[in-house]
Symmetry: C2
Subunit: 214 residues, 2 copies
Amino acid sequence: MKEFPITDKTKITRLPKRGVYEKEVVYSILDEALVCTLAYVHEGEPFQMPTGFCRMGDYLYIHGSVGSFYMRELADKKLKVCISVTHLDGLVLARSAFHHSVNYRSVIIFSVAEKVESKEDLYEALEVFTNKVQPGRWSDVRKPTEGEWKATMVLKFKIEEASAKVRTGAPKDDEEDYALDVWAGVVPLVTERKKPIPDPDLKSGVSLPDYLKS
Amino acid sequence: MKEFPITDKTKITRLPKRGVYEKEVVYSILDEALVCTLAYVHEGEPFQMPTGFCRMGDYLYIHGSVGSFYMRELADKKLKVCISVTHLDGLVLARSAFHHSVNYRSVIIFSVAEKVESKEDLYEALEVFTNKVQPGRWSDVRKPTEGEWKATMVLKFKIEEASAKVRTGAPKDDEEDYALDVWAGVVPLVTERKKPIPDPDLKSGVSLPDYLKS
């Protein structure tokens, strides 16, 4: 399957030309994000949590503490969720206030929580997650103990009802406004990883690993 | 009121020391963000939308098209919402995989949609929103026409049930792990506004305004 089927819930009805259903695009937006927001319904009311995540194949994985009320709720009740990811890529400054916009790439997924029971799946998810946060990290650090694994709950969400919405490029103004003496264009927004700050309690003699040098 | 009252919905139960209920902190986190995610319930299921917003006093404002299904749903049914904002400030690289974390500042608000009917409130919200996206912009651009105002719906949400969650600083490892030969510290994440890119159709002779030069 190269494209997600368009459902009532994933169909982009506002500015439909911004809608993207290609799996490759949806996955690239997900893989670039460190945090998603996960919405669910509890006693008829909306709740949401920002949380780290990773993708493995056609599943999105999150993890948390076995003591977390919301992780247990999601797992025990196999709750329906709506998950979103948004990258803000630029401020789109048009000649008219009305046509101001932003360049962005967002994904919405509708899915259902499944508790990960297989140890291999759980181990792999944490390794993939850690290396997503910082490539090269997993092989460098102390691995979880049996007790730490037991304290960790991993949930997965099948990605089968999903769509993306993307805006790129210059402002679009009304024809007559192009003659105005107003500057128009895009201010790019970029999130950058800055120079690592060592822990004040870093053991002396431990140097910055190569994977953090670039 | 300097602090938000702690309710069943806003009480931080996981890692409670990260919970912050001071209005000033909650508002500074909101004011620094351009996008929030708004979750609501439709026919018993969770939905969410990423959307731009601004704050004026004790209200959060969003705007959209009068043709937007979800804006109309929110307005007509005065739907309950859960709104979140998250800033990711750094990757916290601990000596153990288990203690890896991120530095972040997030806010969760529970509220109810109210349609803004007053023209003054509507005008002010769009001006504040535009100047939040780009300080100095509103006075420089073509203002909305009567038709554009009529095509715009503004909703507001009273901020009275809200809390923040904040993590800052170095990793916290288990006592015995500080002796490991593993680098530990924080990789700061910073979102920056880059050099403005002029619209390819920019009228010749229009120069970059001062408020975009820094």
